[in-house]
């Protein structure tokens, strides 16, 4: 599903964010990528959504080599990968429904499809009743659930979650992780980037540990070791 082969990424003037990374994630896996700040976790996410390109190596997603992806193909890639971030990245002037619908609108989804799919995903994240609220009228946990709903509208095979609980309290964090587990049970591959020890240890799933741009541990049922 996801393959990084000998990937190296450098940032000027002389920072090496990732050093010769080799990584293979199978379809349907729930993988946590952990590490301290600056270890290269977010760089992996940015590479996977083609926000940046690797300096060396190859990145393949679902059989598609995105190493040298063209600018006009990036929107197509992003419609196939769901992404959620610590800061939610919701459009502040759009309602919950409009934020979720927007991901379908940009890809030319018909009105009837939007009216069918958006309520379905809002039901999954339990936000049907708040569909007309604006982001500033929601709690942090609810905002993150809107972001997850938006990430799900294209029924992606992969969901990247970059520190999705970073801005949430313990209770809301647990809700979000439970939601990710539920989505994973539907067959979606989940890549969770986090430095939350409790969450990683409670998951009992595969854990990839990064340190200074290198993978120092990759365990099938891992723990947070740093």
């Amino acid at each position: 599903m996801i393959r990084l082969a000998s990937v190296t990424k450098k940032f000027p003037p002389n920072t090496v964010a990732l050093k010769n990374i080799n990584l293979h994630i199978e379809p349907g896996e729930f993988v946590s990528i952990v590490g301290q700040s600056g270890s290269g976790k977010t760089t992996v996410v940015r590479l996977l959504i083609a926000e940046i390109a690797p300096d060396e190596g190859k990145i393949i997603i679902g059989g598609w080599d995105i190493t040298h992806i063209r600018n006009r193909q990036i929107p197509l890639l992003r419609r196939q990968i769901g992404v959620v971030f610590q800061d939610f990245k919701l459009l502040p002037k759009k309602t919950v429904f409009e934020n979720v619908a927007f991901a379908l609108q940009v890809s030319g989804g018909t009105k009837s499809r939007i009216n069918k799919v958006v309520p379905q995903v809002l039901k999954i994240v339990d936000l049907e009743e708040k569909r007309n609220r604006y982001p500033h009228q929601l709690s942090g946990g609810e905002r993150q659930r809107v972001a997850i709903a938006r990430a799900l509208v294209h029924r992606p095979k992969i969901l990247l979650a970059d520190e999705p609980t970073g801005n949430l309290d313990a209770l809301n964090s647990k809700d979000i992780i439970d939601l990710l587990i539920k989505i994973n049970e539907f067959g979606t591959t989940i890549v969770l980037v986090t430095h939350n020890k409790e969450i990683v240890n409670s998951l009992k799933r595969r854990v990839i540990t990064l340190e200074e741009g290198s993978i120092i541990q990759d365990q099938k049922v891992g723990k947070y070791i740093i």
């Binding site: 959504i49 926000e51 940046i52 600018n71 006009r72 990036i74 929107p75 197509l76 890639l77 992003r78 419609r79 992404v83 990245k89 919701l90 459009l91 502040p92 002037k93 759009k94 927007f102 991901a103 609108q105 940009v106 890809s107 030319g108 018909t110 938006r150 294209h154």
Partner: protein, 305 residues
Amino acid sequence: MFLVAIKRSVIFALQSFWRNIWLSLATIFIISLTFLSINFLVIINAISDSAIVAVKDRVDVSVYFKRDVKEDKINEVKNHLETLPQVKEIIYHSPEDNLKEFKAKHENDPVIKETLDELAGNPLGATLIIKAKDLESYPEVLKAIDNPAYSELVEEKNYNDHQLVINRINTIANNIRRGGLVISIIFVIIAALIVFNTVRIAIFTHRNEVGIMKLVGASNWFVRSPFILENIFSGILACLLAIIVTYSFLALLQPHLASFFEGVDFDVTKYFNEHFLIIFGLQLVGITILNIISSSLALGRYLRS
């Protein structure tokens, strides 16, 4: 698919316009001010042009004939002058007309009145009032009057006075036109910079939204079009606002201009009506092009990732 995308872009643009109403109003206000500044310059140009035309129109050469020159001789001079291509119009004033006019002009002057009464008959000769097609033609007309065949018939002609006025008017007209052009160019450049920066600021406030749109898979075109459309809406509304304010101002200005241009057919509102499409059409086209360019440039840096 394409029509759906266009329809959505329009809807997003209208939504964004309404939901960021204060920013939209500020943009409209600044663009309107720019239009109003340009319209003010157009008004100044129109007034100065009309003033020049009015003054030019009042310039003529009066040829005063000796008292004993017969009317048929004067008609001969008139006919000859009328054959000149530079001459626009020649008006004949008989000695009687001149006396009547002179008396009317000095009716409150008892000395002149008394002197005229003492004189037997009409002391004034006939006059030809010659208007040339343009100011530059007067020297040619005056040269024709200096013809030795006619010069002994002429008592006096107001050659020197008019030469001075003609030169002055020409200099002023050319300076106004040159100055107006320079000011207009400077104004348009300043206006373009103001609008360009206004659009840039408006888009800068939306930079996070642009990133989010890209993140969920929006193509650059899909991100760009609502912003461009929104700015085009602002341009259209600003143009409408400028039209309303300009015409209100013209309505206030016209009575004052009418008294200033007394006797001259100059109506600034009529001038704007006649040039409506060229004045406001150009402004609308200009602001639309400027909006497209500035929106595209301002968005470019946020569309790269």
